[in-house]
């Protein structure tokens, strides 16, 4: 009995420790407005109020910019004033270790594992309201894919796919009425 209680207590404690860095945005998908977005400015993704500092934000930002520009669907501009929308949020990775060796980057990337982090908001430059949000989904890593690529690929793929759906005037697949994100009136 005591053993069972101890194990249950430990499991509860560990579950309580299961944290997601940063603040997850409320899901938003205003497809009508998204369809009209042509230019995007990608903000600094390394800072967010009340969030821990994370690493690799610049890499994610650069990869998102490059992939969006390559897509042909959006142009990436150099200032928020030039953009129809601003991609903001927190993205990068947290390190975790199987030894104490990777502490403070003193010994490089060895003994280190990477936890992807990504909370994204696409904000209308004119109204300053969120048009679209995306939360990084943890999952299986490809052996040759860096964690920053995974975070960047995921958000760009989702944005392009939702933009394509928006262009067709259809709702994203897999969203029931109850689970559907909040639709903002344009």
């Amino acid at each position: 009995m005591i053993r069972a209680v101890s194990i249950l207590s430990l499991c509860s404690l560990l579950a309580a420790c299961h944290s997601t860095p940063g603040i997850s945005p409320q899901p938003v998908q205003d497809l009508t407005r998204l369809a009209s977005i042509k230019s995007i400015y990608v903000e600094d993704l390394g800072k967010e109020k009340d969030a821990d500092l994370i690493e690799g934000s610049n890499l994610v930002r650069d990869q998102i910019s490059a992939e969006l520009a390559r897509s042909g669907r959006f142009s990436v501009v150099q200032s928020p004033q030039e953009a129809d929308a601003v991609l903001a949020g927190l993205a990068g990775f947290e390190k975790w270790y199987h030894g104490m060796e990777g502490f403070y980057g003193l010994e490089g990337d060895l003994d280190t594992h990477f936890l992807g982090v990504g909370h994204f908001r696409l904000i209308d430059s004119k109204t300053n309201q969120a048009i679209w949000t995306h939360e990084y989904e943890r999952g299986f890593l490809r052996p040759t894919q860096s964690i920053t690529s995974r975070v960047a690929d995921q958000v760009v793929d989702k944005l392009l796919s939702d933009a394509a759906l928006a262009a067709k005037g259809t709702a994203p697949r897999g969203l029931s009425d109850e689970s559907a994100p909040r639709q903002l009136t344009p």
Binding site: F103, Y104, L106, G108, G139, S146
Partner: protein, 303 residues
């Protein structure tokens, strides 16, 4: 989860590393426990980073257990308390306290102090360690390591109680950001209580030399390889000629190990470990040789 071909030597082999406890005692002559076993090795670590104006500090509490399936009496646990402070990305100091209470080593014959016949030999280790890490250049790093502690045995083996201290340098060659070689040497002096009691005919005082070379590299983005080779030499320093086990005796230990780590998901990594140790004890009256092979599969999960 590990398969081992020698339950008595398993924990000593697993703890043999530059940051581990390479001089953990074993009972080569135990009358039981030399057989195969499956050992579950749970590890739980809680870590807290505290950034501050003097650098970055991390506190860690780690509990590590060895749970034996065939010989459950060997099951044991160790607790590590560690504090690391990095003054800058180039300089850090680490403090660690390690305790492993009431660890069964095996059974041995006793014939003194009111104890006779076969008795369980149990030891509790309490060791404090400090390591200073200094990055000298892009490719070179030096670490200075020291530790001191005590090993207390149960009453029938009280003459084996040992005070120990260790000192040694480690040199790390960072070949690239994804590959490094670690060279280390430890000198350790162990002073056993038996040196004050020649009537027990047992003085396990020793001088211990431990040399290690390790190669670690990222083979792919999420696949890491670690290869280690250790050599350990224990010279027993007793002057008690009636101590047939230690007088003019020494011990050689060779240990090779390899580990693959693969990060499967953001939160999960898997490990595959193989270790092989060869221990030989020689004294004027005794020659004991023992081998230990451990093969293990593990899962790491980050909460």
């Amino acid at each position: 989860m590990f398969y081992t071909d020698n339950a008595t030597l398993f924990s000593a082999t697993r703890r043999s590393s530059l940051d581990g406890d390479p001089s953990q005692p074993v009972l080569d002559t135990s009358v039981f426990g030399h057989g195969k076993d499956m050992v579950f090795e749970p590890n739980l670590r809680v870590m807290k980073f505290i950034p501050n104006s003097w650098g970055q500090t991390a506190f860690t509490i780690k509990a590590r257990g060895f749970v034996y399936a065939v010989n459950p009496e060997f099951s044991q646990a160790g607790i590590y308390l560690e504090g690391v402070h990095a003054f800058s990305p180039d300089t850090a100091v680490r403090l660690r306290f390690f305790t492993a209470p009431d660890q069964l080593l095996g059974q041995a014959e006793v014939g003194h102090g009111g104890f006779t016949g076969l008795q369980d030999a149990r030891v509790s280790s309490h060791i404090g360690a400090v390591r200073l890490d200094r990055r000298l250049s892009e490719h070179w790093e030096i670490q200075l390591y020291g530790r001191a502690g005590i090993r207390r045995f149960n009453a029938p083996f009280a003459e084996r109680d040992t005070l120990l201290w260790t000192i040694g340098p480690h040199v790390v060659w960072h070949m690239t950001h994804h590959a490094r070689v670690v060279l280390g040497y430890h000198y350790e002096r162990g002073l056993a209580e038996g040196r004050h009691h020649p009537e027990f005919h047992e003085d396990g005082s020793y001088v211990h030399h431990f040399a290690s070379i390790a190669f670690e590299a990222d083979l792919m983005e999420h696949l890491e390889l670690e290869l280690d080779f250790h050599y350990e030499r224990n010279n027993f320093t007793t002057g008690i000629s009636e101590d047939h086990h230690h007088f003019h005796g020494g011990e050689n230990i060779f240990l090779g190990s390899g580990r693959l780590l693969y990060q499967v998901t953001d939160n999960t990594a898997m490990t595959f470990t193989v270790q092989r140790a060869n221990r030989s004890l020689n004294s004027e009256h005794e020659h004991v040789q023992a081998f230990n092979t451990n093969v293990g599969l593990g899962v790491l999960y980050r909460f």
